[in-house]
Amino acid sequence: VAVVSGRTAAFAVLLALGGVRATGAAPSARPTEYEVKAAFLYNFAKFVEWPGEAGSRAPIVVGVLGEDPFGPVLERTIGGRRAQERPVVARRLTGPEEAETAQIVFVGSSEDRRLQGILAALEGHGVLTVSEMERFAERGGMVGFRTEENRVHFDVNLRQVTRAGLRINAQVLRLARIVGPR
């Protein structure tokens, strides 16, 4: 059932995106799916604490691994903004080795089959993994986007977050559906 509803949701997203692209969204119009998701990625940069980076002034790198669904939206949303007094930059990543240097990694749906390998490679590097893949948080990721009724929600696998030494702001966790073992 979950798979079917997930596919329906993804289809709805594609339809919505197609519609928006075709008509050319005005800046003041309701934000698109990926504008919302890009904004969420930026928001995580505000509310996550990385191990050993307290007081750091180095940029918070938001990397995209695999196929990039954002296009120019991510750069437009994040570019030039700051979080926790650090600049936030968007970057396309070529592979898990490069992903280790990022603070937030969005894993594209194209990496579905390689997911376990990617997660294993990122383990111990203090990277917040985010994806819109089906059941991403249940499968060992940290934050999984979920779209219901045209709204973006997110699941958090707290055990994976804690194992990586990350801390997500408690008020943000209140907004999430917590999944996986505690």
Binding site: F40, K46, A83, L175
Partner: protein, 268 residues
């Protein structure tokens, strides 16, 4: 028949004057006190609403950023514990309503979406509206608006009215007591003077004197009055003596004439 004010006795006039002046003083003092208190209370009301708005703004920042309407509304639900809060709204950056709280049974119309980052409050006839920005990383990402009714102000005003009334009664009593004692210093000499004047006028007795109570204007009036009585008494005695003298002389002349008459009768 009602006595006109100018025909009232001095005692009564003095009592009225005392009551009137103490009443006016009491009224002015309480009015000034109430005005000041209402002013400072309204300031405190704004301060309190400001604290509430800032707490809400702080706690609803994630809800705004992650567009979670349910959590935004749940954050406002805490206002239920404050019966004077009529309603509250959380606006997102574009001015859309993300969360809404309206007290059950209260007619709450959310104010128009405020300009991003704006901070203001406004007293209306039936309430106080306060707007504060919701900030993230120093930039406005939305606003919170709270509306409070003014029932507290009204309750406070009513309580003040009662206190002023309760203070007025004993203070009027005390004022009456004090004015009773004070008015004697004026009423007593006047009454004494009036009594003596009546005695003089009715009995023609110029020997009486009015008692002098003090060295004020009434005292000097009484002294002058007594001096006038003395003059009149002297004049009266002189007139009396002159009359007696005249009578005696008439009598003497009459006697002389009688004697002369008798002598002349004897010759003829």
């Amino acid at each position: 028949v009602k006595t006109p004010a100018r025909d009232l006795s001095i005692r009564k006039k003095l009592a009225w004057m005392g009551m009137l002046s103490s009443g006016t003083a009491l009224l002015t003092a309480s009015a000034a006190f109430v005005a000041y208190d209402l002013y400072s209370f309204r300031e405190r009301l704004v301060e309190r609403l400001d604290v509430m708005a800032q707490v809400i703004a702080y706690h609803s920042t994630p809800a705004i950023l992650f567009r979670d309407e349910a959590v935004a509304a749940a954050g406002l639900q805490a206002l239920d514990a404050r019966p004077q809060i009529v309603g509250a709204v959380i606006y997102d950056e574009a001015g859309g309503v993300l969360g809404l709280y309206a007290r059950p049974g209260a007619a709450f119309r959310p104010p128009a979406p405020p300009a991003a980052g704006s901070t203001w409050h406004r007293f209306e006839s039936d309430g106080l509206v306060l707007v504060r920005p919701i900030l993230s990383e120093g930039a406005p990402v939305g606003s919170v608006a709270i509306r409070s009714d003014l029932s507290e102000v009204r309750r406070r005003l009513a309580r003040f009215g009662l206190i002023a009334f309760l203070v007025a009664i004993p203070s009027f009593g005390v004022a009456l007591l004090i004015s009773r004692r004070q008015q004697a210093s004026i009423a007593k000499p006047v009454q004494a003077l009036a009594g003596v004047a009546r005695a003089v006028s009715e009995d023609g007795n110029y020997a009486v004197r009015a008692e002098v109570y003090g060295r004020d204007e009434l005292g000097s009036l009484t002294e002058t009055f007594n001096a006038m009585l003395g003059h009149i008494q002297t004049r009266d005695r002189e007139v009396q003596e002159a009359r007696e003298d005249l009578e005696r002389r008439v009598e003497e002349r009459t006697r002389e004439l009688t004697t002369v008459n008798r002598e002349m009768e004897a010759f003829t």
